[in-house]
Symmetry: C2
Subunit: 193 residues, 2 copies
């Protein structure tokens, strides 16, 4: 639970960073978007970098919770991979404004804070790698290079944040479902023809 003013600042910062980029945004602009003074901003966050870190942390945690929930149920590897992709992709579509900040401003996170974000990011990699390995063991999947396949699956979801707009043709869930099917194709290995 976050105090209301603190939350308003975070949301204003998400909009500003997503719109103009972290480097081009000043704390003054963020305060203005939140209809507050810069002094009031510093009561809640020590710096612009601290705001970015907070956005990044809460964003990564939100999508992680969503994929973990999606994996809580199905047991067959293909269905699990499909559910993972649906959750990951639809989150990036629905939250594309926030997603742009968490995915494209990683370099601006203060080095002493980056470790925490890196650990969160590793968990996605770990989850999808585990699912692929399980599916190889059950012979559901024929994946030649688990690492590159895991990378490609996450990459597909992340890039949704770049191109998805609120007036995109496909609702987030429908896009997630379509991508889930495409990724299952990827797991079947090269054609034998």
């Amino acid at each position: 639970v976050r105090p209301e003013t603190s939350r308003r600042l975070l949301l204003a910062a998400v909009d500003a960073f997503s719109d103009r980029g972290y480097n081009a945004t000043t704390t003054r602009e963020i305060a203005e978007r939140a209809e507050m003074s810069s002094a009031a901003l510093y009561v809640h966050y020590r710096s612009k970098a601290e705001l970015l870190f907070e956005i990044s942390r809460t964003g990564h945690e939100a999508v992680l919770r969503k994929v973990e929930r999606a994996l809580d149920g199905p047991t067959a590897p293909p269905e699990r991979v499909q559910r993972f992709v649906e959750a990951f992709v639809s989150w990036h579509a629905r939250n594309h404004v926030l997603a742009r900040v968490i995915q494209y401003e990683l370099r601006a996170i203060p080095p002493e804070r980056f470790g925490e974000i890196r650990e969160l990011r590793k968990r996605f990699d770990h989850l999808i790698t585990g699912e692929l390995e399980r599916g190889i063991a059950t012979r559901d999947f024929a994946v030649a290079d688990v690492r590159t396949t895991a990378l490609a699956i996450l990459s597909l979801g992340i890039d949704v944040a770049r191109w998805y707009t609120s007036h995109a043709e496909m609702p987030p869930e429908q896009l997630g479902a379509a991508y889930g099917v495409l990724v299952l194709g990827m797991t079947r290995g090269p054609a034998l023809t």
Copy 2:
């Protein structure tokens, strides 16, 4: 053929935009990176936006030439799609600094210039869509939704610009080849199991 100073400015602008983002970069910084005065910059480019447009146009033309050359030869749809992906992906890996600018700064291109870039971008979509349709006609591919599949294929290549670094594990061509195989999997449709 571009005069040497003009070229030096373009390269300096690519580095600056890729590093800090278009909005956070000033023409003065670009001139400094090119070891020139701001006045000298304006002899060659009217504005920062004009530099971005020029970078975007030449970048899009370069990758377009590369994929067109890759398609000049093979006739079977699976091989053609594979060649397209190899060329598109390896270009984004090898030229990740430039690619970040052409893929992530589209919103900053002046509206009166954007039409030209949009037309270039449509050609990639047109090319891969055509290849998918050809492969459906020959029954090499089982693609339920050509549009989304084309989007996903381009998306995979574009996102390489985000994560690829000069010290990435895989050389550009090897990554392109691995992605080519993954995309062929995508074209095979959902598993029947």
